[in-house]
């Protein structure tokens, strides 16, 4: 028997497998430094590209030509050449620090996510709960920046952002916990995990909140038909949480240009506004990457059974990952913001606390029910089994 721990299969020796195993500390620190800089570049470049694609697509959906895909890059350059005005009423150090903290916190999340088919750079140093908390920081930074602006519009926007955060956190937490519960449940037989992960021996899962574990064991293969419905419902809930997390229409009341003149960003200009602009772009990549890691973790090279040459494996996996992220952004951001008008803040709270929470709970109950039926081998035709069993996989 072996243990699947944070994405690496190692011999089970009864010791503490969760301890950080570092053989070469200096190499580890170097890896962190290079990895952080590389992922910052990746997040900014692809965040802006996806932002350009989103704007172009939404324009076409509305019968407009729209700006070129490279427009967000031009916007950033333009913002960085503009005056960085600090209002008289503002608390300058908080006002200037808030955009920085927001972007930095968003960047750090990238190191805990499986990007381009690779294991997370810090797969042993943080789990999904940490990501859930880190996701709060950019929104809180915007709230603090809004309050520090000393503008009534920004204050109203900051208050709305807080209400929206309280609204969407509950269904988001349900989705995350469901995943960890489903994978950590005892009903998942070691042989089932062995079959899905391709391990040589039966596997016992540990640290099911680890994204490396979750993306290593695609949840679709562990459930029956009812669980499949549950996963689709959870995916739907997370797709609806995403635009609120990113303050996109219809959940963009904190900014609401036509009502409160940009809300918490009203007073921001120049490089500070540019940093918030980058935060939005990178956070879009982060949210889409989380959805990909949870729901669509497959790699193209593995699907096509390509193992050599190694550069081809990397290229295929990275391109496939970028396409998956793009598709998620189109469905969770572009389509929704084009199709639906802005909701009022009470409608947002009502939507999340009632309908989306109920939706997430239905998904949770379906998966719990499904696992129970697999355990009891409920008699339905030839027995209730994971879908992979029906497909002969």
């Amino acid at each position: 028997m072996v243990c699947f721990n944070n994405g690496t299969i190692s011999s089970y020796y009864g010791g503490d497998l969760k301890m950080l195993e570092i053989t070469d500390l200096s190499f580890f620190i170097l890896k962190i430094i290079i990895g952080t800089i590389g992922l910052i570049a990746f997040g900014i470049v692809f965040g802006l590209i996806y932002k350009g694609v989103d704007r172009k697509l939404s324009a076409h959906m509305q019968g407009r030509i729209g700006p070129p895909v490279r427009q967000p890059f031009r916007d950033i350059v333009k913002l960085f050449t503009k005056e960085n005005i600090v209002p008289d009423n503002a608390i300058p150090w908080v006002y200037n620090l808030a955009p920085l903290i927001g972007l930095i916190a968003t960047m750090t999340i990238l190191l805990y996510l499986p990007i381009g088919g690779f294991n997370p750079l810090l797969s042993n140093q943080g789990d999904l709960i940490l990501i859930l908390y880190l996701l709060l920081i950019p929104s809180l930074a915007m709230v603090i920046g809004g309050f520090a602006s000393g503008s009534p519009y920004a204050t109203v926007g900051a208050q709305r952002e807080m209400a929206t955060m309280i609204g969407y956190e509950f269904p988001l937490a349900i989705v995350i916990v469901t995943f960890a519960w489903a994978l950590g449940n005892q009903s998942l037989a070691p042989t089932v995990i062995q079959g899905i992960s391709g391990a040589a021996e039966p596997v016992v899962l540990q640290n099911t909140f680890s994204l490396a574990v979750i993306s290593g064991i695609p949840i679709w293969g562990t459930v029956g038909i009812i669980g499949l419905i549950g996963i689709i419902v959870l995916l739907l809930a997370l797709l609806i949480v995403t635009p609120a997390e990113l303050s996109k229409i219809p959940f963009d009341t904190p900014e609401a240009e036509t009502e409160i003149a940009g809300g918490l960003l009203t007073e921001y200009s120049g490089r500070n506004l540019g940093i918030f602009y980058l935060t939005d772009a990178v956070k879009t990549v982060v949210m889409a990457s989380i959805i990909v890691a949870l729901f669509f973790p497959w790699n193209l090279a593995e699907l096509l059974s390509i193992e050599d040459p190694i550069w081809l494996v990397y290229v295929l996996n990275i391109i496939f990952f970028l396409i998956k992220v793009l598709i998620v952004i189109i469905f969770s951001v572009t389509l929704i913001r084009v199709a639906i008008a802005r909701l009022k803040i009470d409608q947002i709270v009502y939507t999340y606390w009632l309908w989306i929470t109920l939706l997430a709970l239905v998904g949770l109950i379906c998966i719990m029910w499904d696992q129970q039926m697999i355990v009891s081998q409920w008699n339905f035709l030839d027995g209730y089994q994971p879908i992979v069993s029906y497909l002969g996989l």
């Binding site: 952080t36 800089i37 910052i40 140093q125 640290n207």
Partner: protein, 119 residues
């Protein structure tokens, strides 16, 4: 040479989760330095003590701070408005009469006892 650091960067674990604050701190500092350099490329000047440093109020004059203040209680407006059907019912229950509160307490206790006995 760097062995003394190793105990400091052990990952904190519970039965279900784990994270390493020190590694996150290192990543945070590296990111801060990079983003700070990027931010430094932007223009930092602006015209102090001019009209551009006044808050934007759609052309309206700025009144005293006390008159412009947005109360913190407004945060909850979205919730009270969205769930007013529920809050209105709760409002009616708050009669201020202790006898009513004790009656509620006894009723809920009775309900729980019934549930516990049945289950």
């Amino acid at each position: 040479m760097l062995e003394w650091i190793e105990p400091l960067i052990k990952t904190l674990t519970t039965d279900s989760g784990f994270w390493n604050p020190l590694v996150w701190g290192i990543v945070f500092i590296i990111s801060y330095l990079v983003i700070y350099i990027v931010r430094g490329m932007g223009k930092k000047e602006y015209k102090k003590d001019t009209g551009q440093t006044q808050v934007f109020l759609s052309g309206n004059p700025e009144y005293d701070k006390e008159k412009m203040h947005v109360p913190g209680a407004n945060v909850y407006w979205g919730f009270t408005e969205a769930l007013k059907w529920l809050y209105n019912k709760f409002d009616k229950m708050h009669t201020g009469n202790v006898s009513d509160y004790i009656l509620w307490f006894v009723l809920i206790m009775g309900l729980f006892l019934v549930i516990m006995v049945v289950i």
